[in-house]
Structure formats: structure tokens, C-alpha cells
């Protein structure tokens, strides 16, 4: 970027925070726009993860496992244990446990994109004629809310399936405060707020963590980019290396933790859909 016009810090960050879209977004909500970079990386990573797992699954041996199989088995056992502890219906678990595994692996891979050097993929993209690229799909609110909405749909599906439509609607109006007709609107409002809050917080939590992490990586990159031959800029550069190292190491924890939290909340919400008030 040190060519004829070096971008200012804010230009650099805004550039990095701009999605590659099929057309210009108008307003806060525009249902005709797609974030092509988010879709590309999330679908690509999802397919990659799922196909690696599927390839392993076809070769899975019940004898002595290789290291890779053992590693995957550890994750699967972990997911399965959590699913067993939270969702008590074995029938539902047939779908919910693999779903939790997918969620964990997929979000882990998407979060891990944060650990790639910030400018590598966008620069490669620029060389190929793609001028905007955000490589961390989970730092896109659409992606995280899309996934949490999917969980919401599953919650609604399992609520109806397990409790029956009548019983569920009855519960919508009588829980949490009681069956008195005067309380019906209040109960219903509370239920709606609960569903909305669950879904929004579910998606926002992951988005917020990854967005903030990405932003801090950008600020650290700016420290490194401050190098201009002076002592002060040299110190900034050293600080950038140190901060980048520390933040990247810390981020290993965050990407795993956030993937785990999203998976656990998915299980918890679906588990709640199985329980009557």
C-alpha cells in the first residue's frame, strides 16, 4: 500500500471492513444484497470441514485409530456427551448431535480465518481483481444471525414436534406467569421477547467477539505499518509484533471458546424446546 498514495489508518480499516457485495447496499436492511466473500468463505470452509470429516468417517476403523481419527473422535465424544447431557430425547439427538458437531467444526474453521495474516487473502484477491474481501465469515452479522435463526427454527420445530401444536400454543400464553386470561398477553409478549433475545444474543455474541478480534488485528497491523525509519515508529513496529503475537495466541482460545459456546447454546436452546414449563 506504500505506492503513490498510502491509505490513511481509517481508509485502511474501512477498506478491510467492506464486504464484497453483488450490488450496493441501500439502508440498514436490504434483502437483495449478498455478501459474496462471506458466502464464499463460509460455504468453502463448511464443505472443507464436512468433507474432511466424511472422508475420515468412511475410513473410520474400530481398531486402533490413527492420530487424526483419535483427534476427531475426541471432539465427537465431547459433542456427544454434551448433547446427551442437554437434549434428553434420543430421537432428537440423532439430528441434534451431528448438528452440534457441524456447528462446532464450522464455526471453529470460520473463526480460525482470523489467524491468517490480515492482508494476505485480500491482497491475493486484489491481484485477481477482487477489491474487497473479508475473510472471517463469523465477523459478518448476517452469517451469525443466519445460524442463530436456523437454531430458532429448530427450536420452534422441536417445540411443536415434542409438545404438540396445541400444547405449545397453550404454553405460549400460560407460561411463565400463569393461566389467568388477564396474563395471556403478558405471557405471550414474554415468550416472544425470550425467543427474540435468545436468537439475537446467540448470533450477536459470536459476531461481536469475532468482529472485535478482527478490528484489533487491524489496529495491530496499523502499528506495524507505522514503520517510517524513525525511532518512534520503530518502537511502534516492535510493539505491533509483540501485540500481534499476544493477541493471536489469545485468539486461539477465543476462536475455540466461541465455537464451543455457540455449540453449547444451540444444544441448550434446542434442549429447552423439549422441556415443558
Amino acid at each position: 500500500m506504500a505506492t503513490e498514495h498510502a491509505p490513511t489508518a481509517s481508509e485502511y480499516i474501512v477498506h478491510h471492513l467492506t464486504f464484497l457485495t453483488n450490488k450496493k447496499q441501500v439502508g440498514l436492511v436490504d434483502w437483495s444484497v449478498f455478501h459474496l466473500d462471506t458466502l464464499f468463505f463460509s460455504i468453502g470452509l463448511g464443505l472443507l470441514g464436512v468433507f474432511i470429516l466424511a472422508r475420515l468417517a468412511t475410513r473410520a476403523t474400530s481398531g486402533v485409530p490413527g492420530r487424526f481419527q483419535a483427534a476427531v473422535e475426541i471432539i465427537i465424544e465431547m459433542v456427544n456427551d454434551q448433547a446427551k447431557g442437554i437434549v434428553h430425547s434420543p430421537k432428537s439427538r440423532e439430528f441434534v448431535a451431528p448438528l452440534a458437531l457441524t456447528v462446532f467444526m464450522w464455526i471453529f474453521l470460520m473463526n480460525a480465518m482470523d489467524l491468517l495474516p490480515l492482508d494476505v487473502l485480500p491482497k491475493l484477491g486484489e491481484a485477481a481483481g477482487v477489491h474487497y474481501m473479508r475473510v472471517v465469515p463469523t465477523a459478518d452479522l448476517n452469517a451469525t444471525l443466519g445460524m442463530s435463526s436456523a437454531v430458532l427454527l429448530l427450536c420452534l420445530y422441536y417445540s411443536v414436534k415434542i409438545k404438540g401444536l396445541g400444547h405449545w400454543i397453550h404454553e405460549l400464553f400460560t407460561a411463565p406467569f400463569g393461566a389467568h386470561p388477564l396474563l395471556w398477553p403478558i405471557n405471550f409478549a414474554m415468550q416472544l421477547i425470550e425467543f427474540l433475545a435468545k436468537t439475537v444474543s446467540h448470533g450477536m455474541r459470536l459476531f461481536g467477539n469475532m468482529y472485535a478480534g478482527e478490528l484489533i488485528f487491524m489496529l495491530i497491523a496499523l502499528m506495524g505499518a507505522a514503520w517510517a525509519g524513525t525511532v518512534g515508529s520503530g518502537l511502534l513496529w516492535v510493539g505491533g509484533v509483540i501485540a500481534g503475537t499476544i493477541w493471536a495466541i489469545f485468539h486461539i482460545l477465543i476462536i475455540t471458546l466461541q465455537a464451543f459456546i455457540f455449540m453449547m447454546l444451540t444444544l441448550v436452546y434446542i434442549g429447552q424446546a423439549h422441556e415443558s414449563h
Binding site: 436492511v29 444484497v33 464436512v50 473410520a60 465427537i76 451431528p98 458437531l101 444471525l145 443466519g146 436456523a150
Partner: protein, 157 residues
């Protein structure tokens, strides 16, 4: 922070990936895990069985050893008894032989003594006459005292 159709695309992809995992990833791996768990359980129970078998075999060995030792003791006792008996018999026989030999020797000695006695008796008359001649300082006619001498011979018997 723009909301747009990416959200729905992500939602659909989410379900497709979850479905794929449920269909092609989860069951084979769980099957392998369950099979391994079963193998390990079988192995453990086989090990337990082998252990109890070993304990049984060891017990049997101890019993057999005990039995063998007992029969060896019995055999030795029998052998000792037999040996003692043999020695006893041999001693008896030896004693018999010795007794016989002594008896034979005694018989022989008696015969020899008798013979010596006979011989002496034969000579007693001559000796008596010779003795008397010395005493009487004259010749004695043995024919005259033949009866007396025969009597003496008879007494010496």
C-alpha cells in the same frame, strides 16, 4: 452492520451441512466408536476369564504337587520299610548261618575231643603201667593187671 440476504443463504447452508453431517459423518464414526467400545469390553472380559482360568490352573498345579509329594513320601516310606525288612531278613539268615557254622564247628570239635579222648584212653593203660613201674621200681606184667586196667579204661570213658 448491514442485514441482507446473506443471512438466509447462511441459514440454508447451515441446514445442508448439518444434514450432511448427520447422514455421512456421524453414523460411521459412532459405529466405529461403539464397535471399539465393544471390542475393549470383550477384551477386558476375556482377560478376566483368563485370569480366573490361570488361578484355577495354579490351584490345580498346587494340588497335583501336593498329591505327588504325598505319593513320593508314601513310596519312600514303603521302600524304607522294605529295605529294613530285607536287612532284617539278611541279618536273620546271617545269624542262622553263623549258628549253623558254630554248631558244625562244635560238633567237629566234640568229635575231635572224643577221638583224642579215645586215643588217650587207649594209652592210659600204658601210661598207668609206666607210672606204676616208676613208682615200684620194677617191671609190672600188664597181663596180670589186665582186668584192673580195663576197669580204669572203662572209668575214663
Amino acid at each position: 452492520m448491514n442485514l441482507n440476504a446473506t443471512l438466509f443463504a447462511q441459514l440454508v447452508v447451515f441446514f445442508i451441512l448439518a444434514w450432511f453431517t448427520m447422514k455421512f459423518v456421524w453414523p460411521p464414526i459412532m459405529k466405529a466408536l461403539d464397535e471399539r467400545a465393544k471390542k475393549i469390553a470383550d477384551g477386558l472380559s476375556a482377560a478376566d476369564k483368563a485370569k480366573s482360568d490361570l488361578a484355577l490352573a495354579e490351584k490345580k498345579v498346587v494340588d497335583e504337587l501336593k498329591k505327588a509329594r504325598e505319593s513320593a513320601t508314601e513310596l519312600r516310606a514303603g521302600a524304607e520299610k522294605q529295605g529294613a525288612q530285607l536287612i532284617e531278613e539278611a541279618r536273620q539268615e546271617a545269624a542262622n548261618i553263623v549258628a549253623q557254622a558254630r554248631k558244625a564247628a562244635e560238633g567237629e570239635a566234640a568229635v575231635a575231643a572224643q577221638r583224642a579222648k579215645e586215643a588217650l584212653r587207649e594209652q592210659v593203660a600204658v601210661l598207668a603201667v609206666a607210672g606204676a613201674e616208676r613208682i615200684l621200681r620194677k617191671e609190672i606184667n600188664a597181663q596180670v593187671h589186665a582186668d584192673l586196667l580195663a576197669n580204669l579204661k572203662q572209668e575214663l570213658k
